[in-house]
Amino acid sequence: MTGDALVVEGLTKVFNKNLVAVDHVNFTVKEGEIFGFLGPNGAGKTTTINMLITILKPTEGKASVLGFDIAKQNNDVRNVIGIVPQEYTADEDLTGLENILLCADLYGIPRNVAKERAMDLLKLVELTDFKDKKVETYSGGMRRRLELACGLINRPKVLFLDEPTLGLDVQTRTATWEYIRKLKKEFGMTLFMTTHYLEEADALCDRVAIIDHGKIIVVGSPAELKHNLGGDLITLAIKENDDVSGLIQKVEHVKEVRKEDGTYRIKAEVGEITTPLIIEALQKKGYAVMRLSLTEPTLNEVYLEYTGRSMRDAEESRENAMTQRMVRMRRTH
């Protein structure tokens, strides 16, 4: 039964005939996996997501969601997907429950079914006690959870999350991750998420794609990508003044050794196995290890490796910046 939830082939979006936002993008998302979409501001993440959720028409290329073509069968697509947008779209003047029921009406779900589902979802996101309170009284975390509940009302098979934890504090963010894991486990849902937080992608995603300048640069599991960077970094110093580079180099899994100011910087494939081997080799020859540290590369390094270090503020669209401002504005008052 498992197949591909999303198949994207040569998907392209050109705005105003000259601004290429998404440039012949190809990827597939397997059913049941959490797929992360990473990239700097203005890289084309939101444009891609907007095409996949059928609110933007692609200029070129095609994509399908569970076999439904996003251009030709957009209504079928809309039925099987759920969306948790970046913004807080819930109506402030309505209560939490009214907002969920409004979403249900947009899907044409009969009232009795909708009410039952809404109560279940409110329980899932722990908002049952607040269901009859107006959304304007909700905190940022509660609003995000309400968005999640709204996005799930039609029992989607593929859920799109656009920056699901943007602007949330660490506690709320961690809680949101738990909900996302729960969704995957309980409903076997496919999740497609964009995020700026790399530790989030690392913690949640089965696979990630890094997109920049409208093109996908690399796709793979976080572990694979980190591995491709050249492995872990071991730093050590010994008491003696002898140069032991040659000795370390001979240890299994060691790829590269550099000596800088009496400290050895060693790149090795599996740090946690290589480190004891190095210590053993040194001790055999009578050297005493004085200091030692092991660093595993984070997705941050992977990301910077592929997208470079320059800031992207200038490329952020005006509308996007404005939306962010609105989000902040609503949150503060």
């Binding site: 809309r78 969306i83 109506d91 009406d105 779900i109």
Partner: protein
């Protein structure tokens, strides 16, 4: 696919939900609701009562009867009654204008995108805005008539309570047209300022270049031409025929309905086609 989700629906599903969402903001907020009624009351109370036009007509000239003269000019001997009817059209104009603004709001807050990603029809999204503005205006029209009666509106000799239905019918047509027009103006905007400026540019001239405050036939020729293509004039005239004149001119009334009806159909078609195209870009 919809069956497996337990979702079954008609083409128009979600219409009432979206319309009611707009209406709820209004009827659940009594303060907002009262505030929206203050403006027409002020206009009626201050302008309608202060412009005591019949006092301008001297009473000491033999053969000149102020009542007859007012009757000839305004179709009623009481300026307040004339002006109160103009308020109905004016309120419709402002209410529909704000319905246009709510599209910008929905876009900025992301609600529009969310609605667009659901199986709800694009037409339904636009219709719901039109419908909520229209229902609001019709309700407000009813309130204005009640207030005006309390302030001393004089019904014409031909008045029949069923005429109120006619008033609602013409307000319905006018509002369908106007709100489609305003939605078509705002649907592309991401900011409030531009459509606000455009609407202000349309609104005031539309109000004054109509027979809301003064009969068109007494205006300069060039202005009369504007008054004659202004749907608001026909609406005002129809409401006056239905409520305050002594002898209803049925040919004129029919013409009023025909003109406002044609306006509504044309503008609504253009507005909805434009909006639809934009929403499914």
């Amino acid at each position: 696919m919809s069956e497996t989700n337990g979702n079954s629906r008609s083409k128009l599903h979600g219409l009432w939900a979206l319309t009611n969402r707009e209406l709820k903001k209004w009827y659940k907020e009594p303060v907002l609701f009262l505030l929206s009624m203050i403006q027409p009351i002020l206009w009626m109370g201050l302008l309608g009562k202060s412009m005591n036009l019949s006092a301008l007509i001297p009473t000491n000239i033999p053969g000149l009867d102020s009542k007859t003269l007012m009757q000839q000019t305004f179709g009623t001997s009481d300026y307040f009654s004339f002006m109160a009817v103009g308020m109905i059209g004016m309120t419709a104009l402002f209410t529909t204008m704000f319905s246009g603004m709510s599209v910008v709001w929905d876009r900025r807050l992301g609600f529009l995108n969310k609605a667009l990603s659901t199986p709800v029809s694009r037409a339904v999204i636009i219709f719901s805005k039109v419908l909520s503005a229209t229902l609001r205006s019709m309700f407000q029209a009813g309130i204005i008539i009640l207030i005006a009666v309390a302030f001393g509106l004089q019904f014409g000799a031909d008045f029949n309570p069923l005429n109120i239905l006619g008033v609602f019918a013409i307000i319905f047509l006018l509002c369908v047209g106007l709100s489609s027009l305003f939605i078509a103006i705002t649907i592309r905007s991401t900011r409030m300022e531009t459509p606000m400026a455009v609407m202000n540019l349309i609104n005031l001239p539309m109000m004054f270049a109509s027979n809301a405050f003064f009969p068109g036939k007494l205006m300069p020729d060039w202005l009369q031409n504007v008054v004659q293509v202004n749907p608001l004039s026909y609406t005002n005239d129809a409401v006056r025929q239905l409520l305050i004149v002594n002898t209803v001119d049925y040919t004129q009334l029919l013409l009023d309905f025909a003109c406002v009806g044609v306006f509504a159909v044309i503008v609504a078609t253009i507005g909805i086609v434009l909006s639809w195209r934009f929403l499914s870009k």
